[in-house]
Amino acid sequence: MNALQPSPLELRLSAYIDGQADEQERHDLEALLVNDPQARALHEVLKRGADLGRRVFDDMLKEPVPLDLVRGIKNAPLPRKAVRLPHAPRPNFAFKPSAPQFLGVCLALFLVGGGIGYVVGTNPIVPEQLRFSAASASNRDWLDDIVAHYRLYSRQTNHLTEIPADRPADILEWLTTNTGVSFRIPDLSVSGLTFQGARLFAAGGVPVGQLIYRRNDGDGDPDVIAITFTKTRPEGNRSIEEIRNDTGLVTWVSPLATYMIVGPSSAADLDDIAAKAAGLL
């Protein structure tokens, strides 16, 4: 056996130890372990290696942690203020109704309420389908859709984008036509990002455009960062910075669109990228 490049049987037995084998595979391996002494010996070797690893690493926890490290963390400065991203302008008006206006609105509300009451009273059974669709729509979280798409495509090396970066005119036309949001492709090379291309998908039932970048540092496992945009959503009319599992999100809004930077939660500069992209889109 070559420890650096395990054989297929070694790999199967190792996955079996961790319960990663499916039911058929488990049955096959259990039969093999009963009948094949060599497989049994290999299984024991793998279990012994795992036990030894556990013991070595458990012993490492007994070493004291340097006091200066603990002090450094306890006394670390509190989080800095978040980067200010552009917000949708809020209409500025004073609400001071006069007495006749107040009476008029009361009367109108009374008539509308009475009308709705009459309609509901004469048709008390709400169609089943309508109730279900309303419930499912309210449960649907468009941010979850975006995170799910990001997690699916960020692991793709050959199919990361739908339209590659060398067709910028196609990207602009395809995404502008389908999302209704006009945009430019920002050059984010100052943040070490190289534009890879674009995608179009649906999140929360509306079309969403996505510009996809990679860190161009030549590392083996580059970060994938995506700028996502859609027409302004009523429920998304605020800036959000948050982490969902291993994915980080930073959103901001303009009068016409909601934008979002999506990337790995370990990327510490998502808000800086968002601030730069907001000025270039």
């Binding site: 395990p6 961790d18 012994r48 290696g49 490290l69 450094g72 510490a268």
Partner: protein, 158 residues
């Protein structure tokens, strides 16, 4: 496993997890002094970005990912500066270093995250930023190497 509310002071959670964070950093950096610097850098990042943490999932996943990302940044810096990025131990070092840390690069992290920390293959692969197949291959190879090293030690003793 801790699942703190977003309002909890993240510094307290980090201090409670510190021995485990340091142990993971050791599997990446190989030497205690470098591992401590790595933990210092990653935890500073975590505290500064703690407003991003909303208490969803295990905080360990995020902190371990940050340590791995900070280490990757450090290696990039060293590469740009033309420094050696391969972990090495001299003879004296090797005697004092736990056997698991002498394994080829990536093996120790794989066995720590799965066999010791109890992460699934998918979670461990996400933390290390590698495909699941590569993680399972490294884990299997680490087990075989450790078992072989254990045999050699017992033979020498006999």
């Amino acid at each position: 496993m801790s699942q703190p509310s977003p309002t909890t002071d993240i510094r307290r959670d980090i201090v409670a997890l510190l021995p485990r964070l340091r142990r993971f950093a050791l599997t990446l950096a190989g030497k205690a002094a470098e591992a401590d610097d790595l933990v210092r850098g990653a935890t500073t990042r975590a505290i500064q970005k703690s407003h991003h943490w909303k208490g969803e999932g295990r905080i360990e996943n995020w902190l371990f990912s940050l340590i791995r990302a900070t280490w990757a940044d450090e290696l990039k810096k060293r590469r740009r500066a033309g420094q050696n990025t391969v972990m090495g131990h001299d003879k004296e070092d090797r005697r004092a270093t736990p056997s698991a840390l002498l394994l080829p690069e990536g093996f120790a992290s794989a066995i720590l995250l799965t066999d010791v920390e109890g992460f699934t293959y998918t979670e461990a692969a996400a933390i290390l930023g590698i495909p699941t197949d590569l993680l399972s291959s490294r884990l299997c190879a680490a087990r075989l190497s450790l078992a072989a090293a254990g045999n050699e030690t017992s033979e020498r003793r006999a």
